[in-house]
Amino acid sequence: MAETLLDIAMMHSDSLIARAREGDKNAQGKLVQLWYKRIYNFSYKFFFDHDLAMEVSQKTFISMHKNLAGLQEVTRFKSWLYTIAVNYCREETRKKKASRSFSLHDLNPGEGEESYRWEESHHRNENPERQLRHSELSDLLQSCLMQLSQEQREVVIMKEYEGLKFREIAEALNISENTVKSRMYYGLEGLKKILEQKKITKETIGYEL
């Protein structure tokens, strides 16, 4: 329910963005509150790493604060914000490659251990056992997502989890809509193969849950 309200607020935040663009500090603060979770989750799904997601989120909102005055159209705020986020994600990926470091998530868990139990969970209101299963499933699906190429992963996350329109994704990534759709198609196809390999289907998920 709370998320729905938040979504509504995000959908109708044009006046808020306009005020923030004019330099209203309170409006800027509210924008951060509204969009922080989305940008964090986008980055988290991109990296499957909490620290990197936090890093990218903070950099994105610092950049938003500095450059908001230069935003031409208020309606393009969403794609503009994701453009910043995706650029920082790519930058961090380059740094990661250069430093040759890897997180614990890059290590394959042992046989019969598909989960990453150290991942934190915040669904406090749910049944702890169910919550743990959800968390494990999320991590499993996240690991599938990480097997996609970076270009396909960007598009899949933006479409499937962030709910951006193809036009908005195209704007954010500065590519054509057809390219976005094509990447989406092959991304889903790739995921299908990965899920089949891991024997994850709608039925097994229903049984697990």
Partner: protein, 273 residues
């Protein structure tokens, strides 16, 4: 019918973002190719499965409003630079007013001056080259005159003193020469001869006595040398004789020992074999 939808059309249909005309066209295609629809439903199933990946809860950090961006007008660099230029110009004006500078250019001469103008006495340019030459020649003539005068005076004085001195000496000599008699001259000459004779005698006497002493000492030294030589020779001969004697005695003793050993051990050699 050769219609074959591309990936972007299929995806747009999957997400319900395809327009009505295209949708109908595609659905007609699916009726003819149901396997394509199954394939697309497979992708839809993937979406369904992937939707179970939950969002992570995260708390947005507090926003600190940075006021550094809002700078007052007088803190802007443009204002600072222009004010700096204006202030330095004003300083130059005030300094100029206080110091009273004056820059003048005339007859190829640039003159920069500060403060009140002081009038310098104008020097007259009345002196010509001829006048200067006249002045120099007149002063030289005066100088030459005075030098000539001094020189003639000095010469006169010198001549006077030399003449006085010579005349005095000549007078004294002629006086003494005229006063001396013939006898005195003789006695003077004889005394000179006596002195010479005496000197010669002394010389010869002294030289003969010295020669005598030298010869005597030479003879004495030679005789003592001969005696010493004789002593040494005698000593040498005595030593030689002693050594001969010693050798002789030693030889004697050795022969005695040999003889005694021969006599005392006549048959021992045989036993050694």
């Amino acid at each position: 019918m050769n219609y074959r939808p591309d990936e972007s059309t299929l995806i747009a249909y999957l997400y319900g973002e395809l327009n009505e005309k295209e949708t109908k066209k595609l659905e007609a295609y699916f009726q003819q190719h149901p396997e394509e629809l199954v394939k697309l439903r497979g992708l839809d199933e993937v979406r369904d499965v992937m939707s179970h990946a939950q969002d992570k809860e995260v708390i947005a950090p507090p926003v600190f409003v940075d006021e550094a961006g809002v700078k007052p007008f007088w803190h802007s660099s443009y204002f600072r630079v222009s004010m700096g230029i204006a202030a330095s110009f004003l300083f130059l004006l005030v300094a100029g007013k206080l110091l009273g500078p004056e820059i003048k250019y005339s007859n190829g001469e640039l003159r920069i001056s500060f403060g009140n103008k002081t009038e310098q006495p104008v020097q007259s340019n009345g002196l010509t080259e001829e006048k200067v030459n006249e002045l120099i020649s007149s002063s030289l003539a005066k100088n030459n005159e005075s030098l000539e005068f001094v020189r003639t005076e000095d010469q006169k004085k010198l001549m006077q003193t030399i003449a006085d001195f010579n005349s005095k000496k000549m007078n004294e000599l002629t006086k003494t020469a005229s006063q001396a008699s013939q006898e005195q001259v003789r006695s003077f000459v004889s005394s000179l001869q006596e002195q010479n004779l005496k000197l010669m005698k002394d010389y010869f006497q002294l030289s003969t006595s010295d020669q005598k002493k030298y010869m005597e000492s030479l003879l004495v030294n030679f005789s003592s040398y001969l005696q010493e030589q004789r002593k040494q020779d005698l000593q040498y001969v005595a030593n030689q004789m002693n050594s001969l004697e010693k050798n002789n005695n030693q030889f004697k003793q050795e022969t005695e020992q040999i003889l005694t050993s021969l006599i005392s051990n006549p048959g021992k050699k045989k036993n050694n074999y």
